[in-house]
Amino acid sequence: MARVVVDVMLKSEILDPQGEAVLGALPRLGVNDVKSVRIGKRVEIEFDPSVTNAEEQSQIIADQLLANPVIENFTVSVLSEDAV
């Protein structure tokens, strides 16, 4: 079975207000050494066992739907290779 993980992150030049809000809360935990926090999405995809081109299909899914190339970058990682 092919399991694929797609990580989607805002591009570095795009302000991430969620990350900023988390960063702003850290001193309240007593954590003062953090320079920046960026928040992204992790998407786990499980393919049918018969699929042979899971990585290729995942690239399409990530490029056309999971990430918006105007503001986000993505990486595709195949977790289990057996059916890929």
């Binding site: 805002l10 030049e13 795009i14 302000l15 207000p17 969620q18 809000a21 739907l65 999971l66 918006n68 105007v70 503001i71």
Partner: protein, 227 residues
């Protein structure tokens, strides 16, 4: 015959009825379009209303882009049909690559719900020709993901081409260069975050400035019919 303006209802659309009402008050004929029907019902123009299509899951407008009706809207827009996207409709147009840029979370992370003062930067679009360039209008803004972003080269190109259509006078969300609305190069596709369809009656809106959008599209379509 009055202009037929199609108004698309997606699952989660909220402002489709107000859009229809505004179109009617402006003297055009609203035509209901359904997201899952690949039919444009002989409309002359399309209005994508605000709301939370598909629950705003993944990104605002990202799922709506793949609906049945959007394939037709994309083709029709490419042939010059006027398309307006307001709020979520603007997000759908950006996600569909019919407009440049993207709309992301407001810089202050809060939902903003108040009238927005805007400047109409260009009257050279299908949806703004009834305004004077530089006119100030007040439309309600209500959004959590309305901050317009694009890379610097794209922003420069938009400015140079006159594709910045509406600009905030009091930027409510951190939008780059105070951009509230943009058009495509041809000027037939326009998107903006604030809601002209909520500014059509003194009783319920902060102004009646939104009627200018309907007047614009009506004039644009009549001119086309006369050509």
């Amino acid at each position: 015959m009055s202009a037929r303006i199609g108004i698309v209802t997606f699952p989660g659309s909220l402002d489709d009825r107000d859009a229809a009402r505004a179109v009617r008050l402006g003297g055009a004929e609203p035509v209901a379009l359904w997201h899952d029907d690949a039919m444009l019902r002989s409309v002359d123009a399309v209005f994508l209303p605000g709301g939370f299509s598909y629950g705003d899951y993944l990104r605002c407008g990202a799922i709506a882009r793949f609906s049945e009706v959007m394939g037709l809207v994309r083709d029709a827009a490419g042939r010059g049909m006027p398309v307006l996207g307001v709020c979520n409709g603007f997000q759908v147009l950006c996600e569909s690559h019919l407009l440049p840029g993207a709309l992301v979370r407001n810089a202050h992370l809060r939902y903003r719900n108040r009238p927005a003062r805007l400047r109409v930067e260009t009257a050279a679009t299908a949806w703004t020709n009834a305004y004077a360039s530089g006119a100030e209008v007040v439309f309600p803004a209500k959004h959590g993901e309305g901050r317009y972003v694009a890379d610097e080269a794209t922003l420069d190109r938009l400015e140079a081409n006159g594709q910045v259509v509406f600009r905030y006078l009091d930027n409510p969300n951190g939008a780059m260069r105070d951009i509230a609305g943009v058009s495509n190069e041809a000027g037939n596709v326009v998107g903006l975050m604030p809601h002209p369809e909520h500014a059509v009656e003194a009783l319920t809106g902060p102004s009646t400035d939104g009627l200018g959008v309907v007047a614009s599209i009506t004039a644009y379509l009549n001119e086309g019919a006369a050509r």
